[in-house]
């Protein structure tokens, strides 16, 4: 059976070149980067070289990069760590209603601790509004956290402007850039970002590794205590192959970004246009500014999970929006946030394209999907066909 993977926002395959870069660090240069001896020094060197290169890729300083186990941990350190360390200043956290659960659940946890979180609304088009943000940022606010691009609908937020507003008010600004690192240009200086989260497996790097950028001087408490690694911010033996792999993956992604995005956008638009030929369908969020790889669609009268499984039976991997392990019954909070009525939220289908995606893949989806929607509409009591 033909296999067409269109769920790159959930995770990506490890790039062969990345695995190649990692290989020496598995069984040969395998030392603990905390060890003094030659094996340790070799590992330490690799870690610091990777740190430098990653810092450069987002215009940060090496000492501003903290290696973590992934996007979730980065988000958690940023939110929990900054709020707790800056308690003296106030108790406000501003974030948006359509953040990833790694931010939203952490914000809720902080609320239970006595912090006050407020949640920015988003427009029907899928954006937070600067006018709104101005209203939300208070003297008491310690931190604002707005994602760079939304993982479900792919809309890219005006980060630079949000950062500017925060700077003006002396409020720290975190951006969950898990969906954009390696896919959109990031310049933490220019974009006025104080903290930024990334996860390697989203840009063809290994799973289990990510990083947090934290501007020099930002007060943060660690989540985990121990050997004092990463300047005390993240204890635990360094995942050297993971770090090396993340660096290589980011290097490749940045180098190939423009060309890749151009290709992806063409294929993505073809996919969107083709899907919209199915009656009673729509695109979630606007086309621009949107991640080049994201096609988030909706189909009336059918339910997303059923579409996913029928597509999967045809070898096509898609998603209803996010790949969380809590299969909650609630319809997507993102789609609700952009004002979609409940029933339409249930009919959502997200395709996210990637490096290996070909025009043939898109053709195959466009051949396959209409029949699936039709079949499900036949057995659906909705729509009154």
């Amino acid at each position: 059976m033909k296999h067409v993977y269109l769920d790159h926002a959930a995770t990506t395959p490890l790039d062969k070149r990345v695995l190649g870069a990692m290989k020496p660090y598995f069984s040969k240069k395998f030392g603990n980067a905390g060890s003094l001896h030659l094996f340790g020094q070799e590992a330490r060197e690799a870690v610091e070289k990777a740190r430098e290169s990653i810092a450069k890729a987002i215009n940060a300083k090496p000492e501003e990069i903290v290696f973590t186990s992934g996007g979730t941990e980065s988000d958690n350190i940023a939110l929990q760590g900054v709020m707790r360390a800056n308690k003296g200043k106030g108790k406000g956290l501003v974030t948006s209603v359509f953040e990833h659960p790694a931010v939203l659940r952490t914000a809720e946890k902080l609320e239970k601790e006595g912090f006050e979180a407020s949640y920015l609304p988003v427009t029907k088009q899928g954006f937070v509004e600067l006018q709104e943000i101005k209203k939300f940022l208070k003297k008491e606010t310690i931190l604002a956290s707005v994602m760079h691009a939304n993982n479900e609908i792919g809309t890219i937020q005006p980060i630079e402007e949000i950062g500017k507003l925060c700077r003006e008010k002396g409020i720290l600004f975190h951006s969950d850039a898990v969906q954009t690192v390696g896919k959109e240009r990031i310049d933490v200086e220019k974009m006025n970002i104080d903290l930024l989260s990334a996860s390697a497996h989203k840009f063809y790097g290994p799973k289990g590794i990510g990083f947090l950028y934290a501007k020099q001087g930002t007060k943060i408490y660690p989540l985990m205590h121990g050997g004092g690694h990463e300047n005390g911010l993240r204890s635990g033996t360094e995942n050297v192959p993971g770090i090396v792999g993340m660096e290589k993956a980011l290097e490749i992604a940045v180098k190939e970004m423009d060309e890749e995005n151009e290709k992806l956008k063409k294929l993505r638009n073809k996919l969107i246009d083709g899907c919209l030929e199915i009656k009673n369908s729509w695109l979630n969020g606007v086309r621009e500014p949107r991640l080049a790889a994201n096609a988030a669609l909706g189909f009336d009268f059918v339910e997303g999970e059923s579409m996913i499984l029928m597509l999967s039976d045809k070898g096509i991997a898609a998603s209803t929006g996010s790949a969380c392990s809590t299969k909650s019954l609630e319809p997507s909070h993102v789609l609700r946030a952009i004002g979609l009525p409940h029933v339409k939220c249930h009919g959502s289908l997200r395709f996210t394209l990637g490096r290996a995606t070909t025009e043939k893949d898109i053709d195959y989806v466009l051949e396959t999907l209409p029949g699936i929607v039709k079949r499900l509409r036949e057995i659906s009591p909705l729509g009154g066909k």
Partner: protein, 130 residues
């Protein structure tokens, strides 16, 4: 997370669709929750003059579990007396599918409720006709 049986049933659901001129229809669920089932039944009598479900078809808008439970319920009760059919336990439906994820157990309840409503509808109509 779904059992093989759920997936198989989803792939080849039985008794899915509509009955023209049904004796009873049960509409249950709501669009907001993402699960809607319409249960159509045809009733006749067996040799012992008991009312039985002669035919049943279900239309479902919902997740994989909703579609599978619709199919399984219909398959189980087809041919049963109305009395016995209404005694089906939601657990039996889940077991028939080698289990359902905890978050999806409500689907089996939903399908039972749909059947109950269809039988009610049949009885109401009959009472009126009588």
């Amino acid at each position: 997370m779904y059992s093989k049986k759920v997936l198989e049933t989803f792939r080849n659901p039985k008794n899915i669709g509509e009955i023209k001129n049904p004796d009873g229809v049960g509409k249950i669920g709501n669009e907001k929750c993402g699960d809607v089932m319409w249960v159509y039944i045809k009733v006749s009598k067996n040799k012992r003059s008991q009312e039985i479900i002669k035919d049943i078809k279900v239309k479902t808008f919902g997740c994989v579990a909703a579609i599978s439970t619709s199919s399984v319920l219909a398959t189980i009760v087809k041919g049963m007396t109305l009395k016995d059919a209404l005694k089906i336990d939601k657990k039996q439906i889940a077991e028939e599918l080698d289990g359902l994820p905890p978050a999806k157990m409500h689907c089996s309840v939903l399908s039972m409720d749909g059947l109950r409503k269809a039988v009610e509808d049949y009885r109401n109509k009959k009472a009126k006709a009588d």
